[in-house]
């Protein structure tokens, strides 16, 4: 038997935060700037986009030309480590259902991989049950969160345009970039179809906002992390300045095992395994904040069992893990013949779309309850792995450079020229919609399986309902209509009822929320309106877990706002010695 003892970190802290993504990074930032002593546990390595660089690297600097690997699922140049499967850290499924779980264990977490789409929830998004009778209302309203959205807009920076839409509130915007050619054609088609196509809303600095971060220089590579910190990631925009206060210690490669509680039921700290030496540690703090991601935080709570909390900490309601919901997703793409053989010029922009479509219809007139937004992509980008694939499906369909129709496929000088000729004429679009939070979509502890650290793993049970399938059908019909109106030809993404209209498996959109939901009734919810556990006053959850419903928006901006709000509440409560 090797020497086995639990080592205690000598220093005690005011607050221990588990996870350094959007929720944890924001909490560390707010608390540290208020002079509170914070320890931030991160399950992966340190990461700094200015030092761990993939930005502005040529395709050949990756031996696989940027393709995906099991260790970096979104490709060799993507900033995010990890993927749908992690070695030695399984998760399982119940009743043959499907849920895919993306995990990125690194400083900044999954903020290192996202489109920087930074949308406020609207007034209706907090009160869906009152509108359509499905799910539940939040215990807070837009007015409660709006001041925090304002602060985050100014702290982090977001571009967009003032539109005065009823349920897509404007932020305090930096100027948006201009639409590019394929986006202008999309906008034109939207105009004919009464589908709004407006400037996108991304947390990318089109103008400098402080001396620590540079402005965007339009390399189109936000997914690689930004060496000048021109876009938002928690590591560069929140954790780094938090560390500069001198009030934060980061412990990397610290995989949290349990929340420790005392005999009175108060949280006293976290026990964790250090992945480097595989030794057990504990760290003590007056307040514990979980920000490990919706499912990982639920797992931690469920694994924190004691005689006082036999069902897991914070789970007297039995609700921890339930109401799990991810955004819906469906996509379609095509080729726009009028873009073939066009002039070459630098078409790079910000790392993502310059225009998007917010939800524009009235669900009362439709056969599904919730909406979706549309993201667009296309044009002349840097080739990556997969460039040129399937040319036999394109070069026989359209006249070539000399105006004659060729036989599909081929080889030689003429084929070589086809790759150049058709480059930059493809485009696509994806819908991201709101799913309904349901009690029977959940994650729970698998009774028989542990990971390589001996921590019991999650088992998922998730099924889409008719609501989501009908929404995907509507997406596909809309996409086909837009592509047709543009004068384009659909080349991929056609689908039918047999495959649920191409609706992505739950989890694939990486917007999973709802597992520690917020509410006023401790019997039906895990945390109160300040993200504070009903059962444990010095325990908070500040990731996507507390979301009652996810809206047809990306969750990050709301995670940030609620984490800031909860952190200010903690500062106040610590001052009053209430916790």
């Amino acid at each position: 038997m090797p020497d086995f003892q639990i080592k205690k970190t000598a220093k005690d802290y005011d607050v221990c935060i588990v996870g350094s993504g959007a929720g944890g990074g924001m909490a560390a930032y707010v608390l540290a700037n208020a002079g509170i002593k914070v320890v931030l546990l991160e399950a992966g390595p340190l990461y700094d986009p200015a030092k761990n660089v993939t930005q502005l690297k040529w395709p050949w600097e990756s031996p696989r030309r940027g393709a995906s690997t099991p260790l970096r699922h979104f490709g060799d140049f993507d900033a995010a480590y990890g993927g749908w499967e992690l070695d030695g850290e399984p998760y399982t499924h119940k009743d043959g259902t499907k849920f895919d779980w993306f995990r990125s264990r690194m400083l900044g977490g999954r903020t290192n991989h996202w489109g920087r789409i930074s949308l406020r929830f609207g007034p209706k998004d907090f009160k869906r049950r009152s509108i359509d009778g499905l799910g539940d209302d939040w215990p807070i309203s837009y007015e409660d969160v709006a001041p925090y959205y304002d602060k985050i807009d100014q702290l982090i920076g977001v571009f967009g345009s003032k539109e005065n839409l009823p349920n897509d509130p404007d932020s305090i915007f930096l100027p948006p970039p201009k639409p590019r050619l394929h986006e202008l054609f999309i906008k034109e088609a939207g105009g004919k179809l009464n589908i709004p196509v407006i400037p996108s809303r991304l947390s990318i600095l089109t103008k400098p906002i402080n001396k620590d971060r540079g402005a965007c220089f339009y390399c189109s590579q936000c997914n690689r992390g930004c060496t000048v910190y021109g876009d938002f990631s928690s590591s560069s925009v929140l954790v780094k300045p938090a560390l500069n206060t001198g009030n934060v210690d980061v412990i990397p490669n610290a995989m949290a095992r349990e929340v420790i509680t005392d005999t009175q039921g108060k949280a006293t700290g976290i026990s964790f395994v250090n992945k480097d030496d595989m030794q057990e540690y504990t760290v003590n703090a007056k307040v514990v904040m979980l920000a490990a991601s919706a499912c990982e935080s639920a797992r931690l709570l469920l694994n924190s069992k004691s005689s006082l909390f036999p069902n897991g900490l914070g789970n007297s309601s039995g609700v921890v893990g339930k109401y799990l919901h991810d955004s819906t997703g469906a996509s379609m793409g095509g080729i726009l013949p009028k873009l073939i053989g066009r002039k070459r010029y630098n078409e790079d922009g910000v790392g993502g779309m310059h225009v998007y479509t917010p939800w524009w219809l009235d669900n009362k007139k439709l056969d599904f309850a919730r909406g979706y937004h549309i993201e667009y992509y296309g044009g002349m980008g840097m080739p990556g792995y997969g460039f040129g694939f399937g040319m036999q499906g394109t070069n026989g369909k359209y006249p070539g450079r000399d105006g004659t129709q060729k036989e599909a496929g081929g080889y030689g000088a003429s084929l070589k020229d086809d790759y150049r000729y058709f480059y930059g004429a493809t485009f696509g679009m994806s819908g991201r919609g709101e799913a309904i939070a349901r009690e029977d979509n959940y994650c729970e502890i698998d009774p028989t399986t542990v990971d390589k650290f001996g921590i019991p793993v999650l088992r998922f049970h998730y099924k889409w309902s008719d609501q989501e399938v009908k929404q995907a059908k509507h997406m596909k019909e809309t996409f086909a209509e837009i592509i047709d109106t543009m004068g384009g030809v659909v080349t991929w993404g056609k689908s039918s009822a047999e495959n649920d209209y191409g609706l992505e498996a739950p989890g694939r959109i990486i917007h999973e929320v709802g597992t520690t939901r917020m509410g006023s009734d401790p019997k039906k919810s895990v945390v109160n309106k300040f993200n504070q556990a009903h059962d444990c006053k010095n325990l908070f959850v500040v990731d996507g877990g507390p979301f009652v419903s996810q809206a047809d928006k990306n969750p990050t901006w709301t995670i940030l706002a609620l984490s800031m709000r909860a952190s200010e509440f903690i500062i106040d409560e610590l001052k009053k010695q209430n916790i």
Binding site: E61, Q392, G409
Partner: protein, 171 residues
Amino acid sequence: MDRRKYLKTLAVGSLGASALIACEPGTKETPKAPASFTIDRTKEELIREAKLVSETFFDEHEMKTISILTDIIIPKDGTSGSATDAKVPDFIEFIVKDMPRHQTPMRGGLKWLDIHCLKRFNADFASCSSSQQIEMVDNIAYPEKAKPELQQGVAFFNLMRDLTACGFFHQ
């Protein structure tokens, strides 16, 4: 994050924290990378990269055939060199090791091609004359007019075309 800053903030004189610093990645022995990487690589990635380049998949004959095919697909023109000029065969050797799903279609496809040429020209593809090679390629390079009995060859050539173009237009 500034690494020194990080060490400084953590060096608060605590025993536990000191123990953690000692185990922070980077202080451990880093595995030997196959080549110097100019892009960010984690410790796990470096181990995987080293393993991939230590393996060989295609034999000499297969590599010769691949080289001929890639130059037929992407020849030199007024703008740029040929596929072999851009070391596309090396890319293909690497990518089938990186993505094992390509291994059987590639190995089997090359074999299919050789057997087909043996029957028809009494020589494997690489040993055929240039005109015989082109005659063979003409039969499998056009999916919509290829004979039904040659569809396996068409599938192989589609894969060759994809990997050749992908490898070439990144150099």
